[in-house]
């Protein structure tokens, strides 16, 4: 917070600069093992102990039946379910544009996983493309510690 006087943008109406920032103590709580898993090169989904529904993005309780899930290690390869290349973005990501978002589908899982695709020209990306997970060497303990790159066709 600066204390060098107030910036005034206009006087009719009176418009001033009003700065605001905050640090949170953000807990991943029951999702924590997923983020720890990324630091070990593992993608952890979850599987329902009652109905077997398998989540690529983990959750501690099943959305279908409400029973607890257990951690379930996903394969590191999957396919692109859908994609887009963003040329604009929220302010936090504007400097990273253009970037490509993908939803990844894995064999034996019922849901998808949102990630970024790197290492490919945007006009080459297509639905069904095989992709492989890559992990950050220095973790930031965020979901961006994993991303995907094109994999060789099987």
């Amino acid at each position: 917070m600066e204390n060098k006087g107030t910036i005034v943008y206009g006087i009719d109406p009176l418009v001033i600069r009003d700065h605001y920032e905050i640090d949170y103590l953000h807990s991943y709580a029951e999702d924590s093992p997923f983020f720890i898993g990324l630091t070990k090169g593992k993608l952890l989904g979850s599987r329902c102990t009652a109905c077997g529904y398998t989540y690529s993005t983990p959750r501690a309780h099943c959305m279908e039946c409400g029973e607890p899930t257990i951690w379930h290690q996903l394969p590191l390869t999957g396919r692109i379910h859908t994609f887009t290349t963003c040329h604009y973005g929220g302010e936090a990501f504007l400097k990273e544009t253009p970037f490509t978002l993908i939803l990844v589908e894995f064999a034996d899982a019922d849901t998808l996983f949102l990630s970024r695709l790197k290492g490919m020209q945007p006009d080459q990306v297509h639905i069904g493309l095989p992709v492989v997970a890559r992990f950050a060497k220095v973790p930031s303990f965020k979901v961006t510690d994993v991303w995907f790159e094109p994999a060789d066709e099987e």
């Binding site: 109406p13 290349t85 963003c86 929220g90 990273e96 849901t111 998808l112 990630s115 979901v143 961006t144």
Partner: protein, 427 residues
Amino acid sequence: MRPVYMISGGITKFAKAHQDKDFRLMVKEAYDYALRDVPRFSKDMIDGAVGSYFSDHFTRQLKAASMVQDYLGLCPKPSKRVEGGGATGGLCFQSAWEAVASGRMNCCLAFGFETMSRVNTWKGNEFIALASDTNFDFPVGGFYSGYYAMMVQRHMHEFGTTVEQMAMVSIKNHANACYNPYAQKAKRLTIKQVRESPMVATPLTMEDICTMSDGAAVCFLASEAVASKVCNHPVKISGVGSGSDAMRMADRPHGKVILLPHEREADYRELKYPGVHSFRGGRMAAKLAYEMAGISNPGKELSFIELHDAYTSSEIQTYEDLGLCKYGEGGHFVESGMPFLPAVDYGLELPDRGLLPVNPSGGLLACGHPVGATGLMQAVFAFWQLQGSVEKHLGNGKLQVKNAKRGLIHSHAGTGTYITVSIMEAV
């Protein structure tokens, strides 16, 4: 439950910025307009209010609806705030409906507003993206246009929907707005211009996406006794429905279609539903609203629709959720010309033009999307259509749907996480 009527409505002009008015004054202007429209009605007949705005971040003023309540002189009457992302306005409308239908109130004010101009556009996009899972979605590149782009890529893959069909929605809604003085972004476009405007998230361009706005809207809902006493042309709210879906798009199931009365399971043998191409919550909202209003074939029994076209693609997706056409046929539905108005020149070949106008007002794409006001704005436009008073309120009758008997309004949040559908009827 007892019957509920809308007796008046008002809106401010939606604009990129109203720096000379704060949210209280914007609501006051819409409120005063609505009061003037029913001279036999008076402020002391209002039993309470429901306020709606989406984000505490945009104005950095918590409890902003309380400040509107006191500004309008409605204290100490009952009041509350409703928040549900993009569907905030639609949820507010239904909350006011509940207050009257239950008998708790004889007249309830629904007011909504948003001031989005106090931060820059990209910070605004970041605030909106915080309405996605902040552990798993937001950090990857939180951007709603990106999420909708992924949905329509899959829609195109499943059904063959084209970017030209999406561009036709943009042409339609921006051209309709040329006759709506409340709209923020009226213009004539061609398919080429839509496609050549800056790419935001493939395949969505700037002209496929609604803009942020400052604005406010209000509706007065009342019991039959109040409506018949003060209003010459009340409009009945004959059906309400709402639905929901998982916050994360990644979590959407791939199962069976929720069928409407005019559909059969055989229509969708191969379709995995909703996936990321359709809005299950919208289908649920429509199904419940149609059941309450006694609608069995929406495409034939509705006169017009005001739906939540935050994106050209989501208008096409929503045609299908509402059962105006089958899943997969939304692109052909727009090409047929059915959702266009008969009296407006679009510069397009439209064989079945005007059979079921969608977003005659210009929708979010052209009117703007001041989130908390949007769902109520739709109700006000639908109210004027069903009263046959479009010319009186817009200064010209070009957008008036002839013999409008029954309209549908549709409000939509997130990537389809909350959706409301309300049916309104001329009486």
